[in-house]
């Protein structure tokens, strides 16, 4: 394990961004989001959460797929180059690190999504253990250890020192490139980590969503859950906006569209939201005509369909973003509790 004093972090950022792009939480306009580091930006590494998840660094909201150029009766097909720039994402919390396992299942299984795969290959994830879980957090319910995130490098900050531990070869290579900047943490590092883990555990146990019970969401109950009359009540106030899906670290649906530039066509893909009226729109219309079906789709996908196809892995990581951002406060925790999660009464 290595270490560096917290007040020397700008040096670390400089070193990391010298040879590759560095993305980390930045504060802008009163909100925090992952952005490209440059010395004049206001970094917010320890901010409790970001509005959007780091998902967009691997699966951007909008990305070109192919271009067409028209000349007379000829159409030239101009492929778009695969991403090939190395980059580092720093400050990724345990929940968001887990979200990459979910996305990998979708994009790296056959047929492999080349764009995502290329970004995964060129991206190095430096995670940061969480020491200030919020009231809206429930990563514990998915077996995620907030104090010990995965990633290529794992960091935690305690008593003004950032501890740095490479977990993979990629992480080791990054660590080696920082030669001279990081010091050996020695046995004290281990002690600090144990103390950190204990503190975080205590905080997690004090959270309001501690003990959230997901046992009702099993593949064999698919039909029962699907037909549950409670969906009507749960979905009735849904505005049909895409806040929850666009801040979600695991939502992976996308749409492919053409944009006519006047001298050619740009085909791009962009995030889609199952909450939107044109989601999975086909020639005959949409298979989910009302908000009830759209709303149900989102939660059934995360809690039932996805685990059915992926050895029980839920496609929710408990980051709490939708809990915080839903304009009408109707979110996945309320759905879990209403449909058979732990009840207070």
């Amino acid at each position: 394990m290595k270490k560096i004093a917290e007040n020397r972090l700008p040096e670390l950022y400089q070193a990391l961004s010298a040879e590759r792009k560095l993305y980390l939480p930045l504060e802008e306009g009163g909100v925090v989001g992952y952005g490209l580091y440059s010395p004049e930006k206001k970094t917010a590494l320890t901010a409790p959460s970001t509005v959007k998840s780091p998902k967009e660094l691997f699966f951007p909201q909008v990305e070109g797929v192919v271009n067409f150029q028209m000349q007379g009766k000829n159409i030239d097909i101009l492929p778009i180059e695969m991403p090939k720039e190395d980059f580092v994402v720093m400050g990724v919390r345990a929940c968001d690190v887990r979200s990459f396992d979910v996305l990998d299942r979708v994009f790296l299984s056959d047929p492999v999504d080349g764009y995502y795969a290329a970004r995964r290959e060129h991206g190095t994830i430096v995670s940061l253990a969480c020491d200030q879980p919020q009231n809206s957090c429930f990563c514990e319910a998915f077996g995620i250890d907030a104090a010990a995130p995965a990633g290529d490098v794992r960091c935690f900050i305690r008593e003004g020192v950032l501890y740095w531990q490479a977990l993979t070869d990629k992480g080791q290579a990054l660590t080696d490139s920082l030669f001279g900047l990081l010091e050996e943490a020695g046995p004290a590092g281990q002690e600090q980590q144990e103390a950190f883990t204990a503190e975080t555990k205590e905080k997690l146990q004090a959270l309001p969503y501690h003990g959230l019970d997901l046992s009702a969401f099993t593949p064999d109950r698919l039909g029962e859950l699907f037909h549950d009359p409670k969906w009507k009540k749960l979905s009735q106030a849904c505005l049909g906006c895409g806040s929850c899906t666009f801040v979600c670290p695991t939502c992976q649906c996308y749409d492919v569209r053409d944009f006519d530039t006047g001298h050619g066509i740009q085909r791009y893909r962009c995030w889609d939201s199952c909450m939107y009226s044109d989601f999975t729109m086909m020639a005959h219309g949409t298979p989910r005509p009302t908000q009830l079906e759209k709303f149900r789709q989102r939660f059934m996908h995360k809690l039932v369909y996805f685990p059915s196809n992926n050895e029980g892995m839920y496609s929710c990581v408990g980051c709490g973003r939708c809990v915080r951002k839903c304009p009408i406060h109707m979110h996945i925790v309320k759905v879990i509790k209403a449909l058979g999660g732990k009840k207070d009464e």
Binding site: F259, T261, G262, H263, Q266
Partner: protein, 148 residues
């Protein structure tokens, strides 16, 4: 940025069918000149111009957009241009509020008999927009023609 030496602004002029479009016709038949960079789009009435049309024109590469209609009181549909006047005033003030140069947008009333006015208005507008240079603030990079 690469600057083209021979740069000329692209102007979109929405002209109402009954007055301004006929005014443009008259300008032509009376051999009044106006720059060829003005592309006229004929609309039934100035109030047919939806704000989206104006933004779309900028997106597609216009450097200035002008709306021409009948003089107030002379609208073929009695009151269309009065509505257009309010809408365009508010829209253009909003564009100004967003930091877009206000010289890029204009409303002018040109009657069917005012061929000379049509030509002078267009000449003046093209001059104003030329001085402002290329539209950068309201451009859509995807629509820019590749600089070969």
């Amino acid at each position: 940025m690469q600057v083209r030496q021979d740069w000329k602004p692209k102007i979109v002029a929405f002209c109402c069918n009954w007055c301004s479009y006929a005014g443009a016709d008259l300008a032509g038949s009376s051999r009044r000149s106006y720059p060829a960079d003005v592309k006229i789009i004929r609309v039934p009435c100035s109030c047919r111009v939806n704000p989206l049309f104006i933004l779309r024109a900028f997106q597609r590469g216009a450097d200035g957009v002008i709306i021409c209609g009948c003089h107030p009181g002379d609208c073929h549909y009695t009151s269309g241009n009065y509505y257009a006047r309010r809408r365009m005033t508010l829209l253009f003030k909003m564009l100004e509020y967003l930091g877009i140069e206000k010289g890029r947008t204009r409303v002018e009333w040109v009657s069917a008999a005012e061929g000379a006015k049509f030509s002078s208005v267009m000449n003046d507008f093209v001059q104003t927009v030329t001085a402002l240079g290329e539209n950068v603030k309201l451009e859509d990079l995807r629509c820019k023609e590749p600089l070969n």
